[in-house]
Amino acid sequence: MPEAPMLQVENLDVFYGSYQVLWDVSLDVTNGEVVAVLGPNGSGKSTVLKAIMGLVPIRAGRVIFEGSDLTRVPTHEMVAHGISMVLERRRLFTNMTVRENILLGAYHKSVASQTKDRLEWVESLFPILAERRDQIAGKMSGGEQQMVAIARSLMSKPRLLLMDEPYLGLAPKIVDQIVQIIRKINGEGIAVLFNEQNVKLSFGVSNQGYLLEGGRMVLSGTGDEMMNSDVVRRVYLGV
């Protein structure tokens, strides 16, 4: 019998005010996997990640992580359950230094005592951030900022990392670096769930994907299955 997935998202309905953006969305993430949520602009793919993290209220459905129901857990408690998130467009504390930003990633009481070990680990993954520790985060380049954001999210040593559009607004060269970083993170045994608009980029790194269209999950499968799917072609190319 196969092991239950680490994250089970079941039948989510999400509203912004009276305006529904997600209908009956379900997805699974298995331990140690990299999963992509694919979808065009406005398909609700960001909302899926935000809903899991508790940043937008869930009207109906459940979020189960490692057997416990996290549907109503407030955002600031999620790191204690082993889930962390890199927000869209980095969202650093721009007036604070790189070091301060990274240290804030270990703010929660459940992880604060291991701050020192975590910092060593994170800086070994991103040596450049140790060199730049006193720089004001807001003054760095987009790629460097994304690195700080990822480092910050790793400070709580999550078992699952959510990444909202990790490649958005970055130069192609930087995107390659971020892809390498995601592989590296995954190599540390951390599962990653991210969303992306571009089909090729999505499956450069992930082994499993979901396609979201108009707030509904329309397809799921492995990278190859998705790349060759008629549905993907229809959604993206209008064929």
Binding site: M53, L55, M85, L87, R91, F93, N95, L104, Y107
Partner: protein, 291 residues
Amino acid sequence: MTIYLFIEQIINGLIIGSTYALIGSGIALIYGTMRVLNLAHGEFYMLGGYFVFYLAVTMGLAPWIAIPTAVFGAFLLGMAIQRTTIHFLFGREGWMFSTIAATLGLSIFLQNAALLLFGEQFQTVPYYVSGVVELGQVRIPAQRILIFAVSMATIGVMTYVLKYTRLGWAIRATSQDRDAAAVVGIPAERIYMITFGIAAALGAIAAAMLAPIYSINPWSGLPILLKGFVVVILGGLGSFPGAIAGGLILGVVEAVGVQVTSSEWRDVISFGLMIAVIWWRPWGLFGQKPS
């Protein structure tokens, strides 16, 4: 007027300005963290004054017990007010206006509650220290030196808290990006409540220090609120260091302005200065236009 008298006035301006800085930094802290303009901030000052009066005069406690107790009382009151009003408006449609309106309602409510509870007579608190400090020909009452020392020490402690403590980091992080702060595990709601409490406590410290030289009365909140507003406009709305500089500048400008005109024009001078700054540098003397 002799040069010594003039120097005395400047020093007095700095001393009063240091309490303006306390008021302004409370307003700046709340605005910086929550983007809420607190029109009830003067009432924290007014009620803080009454707390000191009741503890120090009516109950006869020593100032070093009465003042910290009053300040702690104001801290709790600030948290309670945030939790029962602002908390429910924050983030709702049109919250930026509704919080301003609600705090205006709170201000008038608290002012009149104080009038009913404490009566309309003006109260005062005896000097905490007596004597006069002489520096050459310049004479400054020790009480005023104490005001300056306590205000500056409070500002120093607050600066340290914001820069180096876990709470301070959480406040700064929440003020910069609420969602990002929540994601790393900072409970924004609790930080907001504590921020309100701290701002109220800063107001109460100013009230405790000014109680011996100004009277305590139910109407004392509005004038001090407006001073605080001038301070935050000078320093850039939401900037803690700006509020400190703004407070000292306002104190000196008022002191000089009163020498040139007369004391009844004091407030006109400060509001005139504020409108000039808005015209000339809308984001304050040190602030930058937010992107």
